[in-house]
Symmetry: C2
Subunit: 324 residues, 2 copies
């Protein structure tokens, strides 16, 4: 049995979910792959918080270099969130010949090309399945099974908070402010919900999808972006009367060589598969010139769904390393 | 630019769709991967049929050994359909150190272990994404991104013909025989529809999914299988009255170490995501202990969707070969 050692940057909610995914499925993972994955070092300030996982004090470090310079560590998982210091840490890990896995859409979208090029230059892997759609396996599908297609269009519901708010407004005729307050109480929305409700989080994810689908980098700030904070019960009622639903849709389309893209509240006919995607669920609807229309649906956030995607990436890298 | 030569067994509808997928997207595939894929030899009796693709007579052969013994061919695509001679040909290709890609659910389900073991023993790849769900990237998702999960359950609508018939019976109150006749006229059902309407095709696909999800081989004939030929307009009306829809569901579930499975017409509440999957579309609904519920939706058959999945597999193998 081969052991692969992993350094983890950040043991917050997502870091804990990732750790837990490995902990609860370790026996099965080892049976299926013959690999023993071990998170040997964790960069995290808060070493005392109750997390319902088994971590010993010796795993914690306050110095990222202890991870980057550890010759036994092959893979670094970055789950700090935010653009910096996450980006600098990922680049540093790559320069030290560590493969990198991240769930950090802000950092990947802001520095897509630099991260991809640095990984290539250092002959390491860089994977970010969890950065778009959480547990939904969209990025790997686009880059493997679907790679023989020319893509025509992608439409996505890529943010659970806004989809929850719009679903509750639609189903119960409530207004935006009341639902937002309820979502915050339930933990579905953050205290400062700006990045979610103004579409910034979705623009980050669309930037990443455009880079993969159309091999073209568009910075999130260049994507025309409109959030849902101005949606009124009247807008919702008007859509209902037309047998439609309002969803916050990220869209990118290639038509006659012209790429267009936007993030905005969009009326979808109730027949559209995306119209049935409710509450905190996410979905991606993609059209390829050979495969036709496909939809991927699942939990776009949360510690365990995100941990599932992160550990899937880690295992793909581990299999490559051990097959060399 | 590296050239990878491919041998193709069968140039019927699916073979033609696969050939066409490569032909129409060749420039983009080469740009994205740096690979030049070339279908250099084709085993096919009918060399004169009009196919709307560019094939020269020199590509055709009537002797499979011309493909198996060609040292320039790295990958064999098997699209003959049926268990034999397809299985024998795939094993022969593997023994000659060719990787194999197939869309043939009957052959894969009947000989799953033998094919997997022979590929392993000969250190070649064996991929069969197109055998379940046509263009839907389910198999690769289960074996890569989702591999850190323990799977709890899978439910699938895995046959377009039966889903078309049930949808038409539901939407228009028609009876089984009339819809089957219409489906046959439209080309959605075969002249002898037995394999589709009696659930045999679905049992093949479920056998493959069980092998991947639960690492356990169950022969298609061992799966309790019931088709849709006895479904009456009264059954459909009864389901409607309960706000449900009847779908032909393939299901496998692991509960307390016990694996259960079946193929049968099943009442689904109209809220269930699978209830919205209409006509010729397929979908797979899978639950993992980390990722939660996921659904994959798309075209489960047809020359181009199937060709998309076949060429995706071919490209994954080609990338591995050239990275050695």
């Amino acid at each position: 049995m081969k052991t692969i050692k992993i350094g983890l940057l950040g043991l917050g909610n997502i870091g804990t979910g990732t750790y837990k995914t490995l902990e609860m499925n370790k026996v099965q993972i080892t049976e299926a792959t013959g690999l023993n994955l071990e998170i040997s070092k964790i960069l995290e300030r808060d070493t005392t918080r109750e997390r319902d996982i088994t971590v010993v004090p010796q795993q914690f470090t306050q110095d990222p270099d202890e991870i980057f310079r550890d010759p036994e560590i092959d893979i670094v998982i970055e789950l700090l969130g935010g653009i910096e210091p996450a980006t600098t840490f990922m680049l540093e890990a790559m320069k030290n010949k560590k493969s990198v896995v991240t769930a950090n859409k802000a950092a990947v979208a802001a520095n897509f090309e630099k991260l991809a090029e640095t990984a290539k230059a250092n002959q390491v892997e860089f994977r970010y399945e969890a950065s778009v759609g959480g547990g939904i396996p969209i990025i790997n599908a686009l880059t493997t099974v679907l790679q023989a297609n020319q893509f025509v269009e992608i439409q996505g519901i890529l943010n659970g908070t806004t989809n929850y708010i719009l679903t509750q407004m639609t189903d119960f005729g409530l207004n935006y402010e009341d639902v937002l307050k309820k979502a915050q109480e339930l933990g579905f929305a953050e205290a400062d919900p700006t990045a979610d409700v103004e579409g910034i989080d979705v623009a980050n994810k669309l930037s990443i999808l455009i880079a993969i689908l159309f091999r073209s980098y568009v910075a999130p700030g260049q994507i025309p972006t409109q959030g849902i904070s101005n949606i009124t019960p009247e807008d919702i009622a008007e859509a209902k009367a037309e047998n439609s639903k309002i969803k916050l849709i990220a869209c990118a389309r290639m038509e006659e060589g012209q790429l267009t893209y936007s993030v905005k509240p969009t009326k979808l006919s109730s027949d559209h598969p995306l119209a049935a995607v409710s509450n905190e669920f996410n979905a991606v609807y993609v059209t390829g010139n050979a495969v036709g229309e496909l939809m991927f649906y699942g939990k776009g956030a949360g510690p365990l769904p995100t941990g599932s995607a992160v550990m899937g990436d880690v295992l793909e890298i581990a299999k490559k390393i051990t097959s060399r």
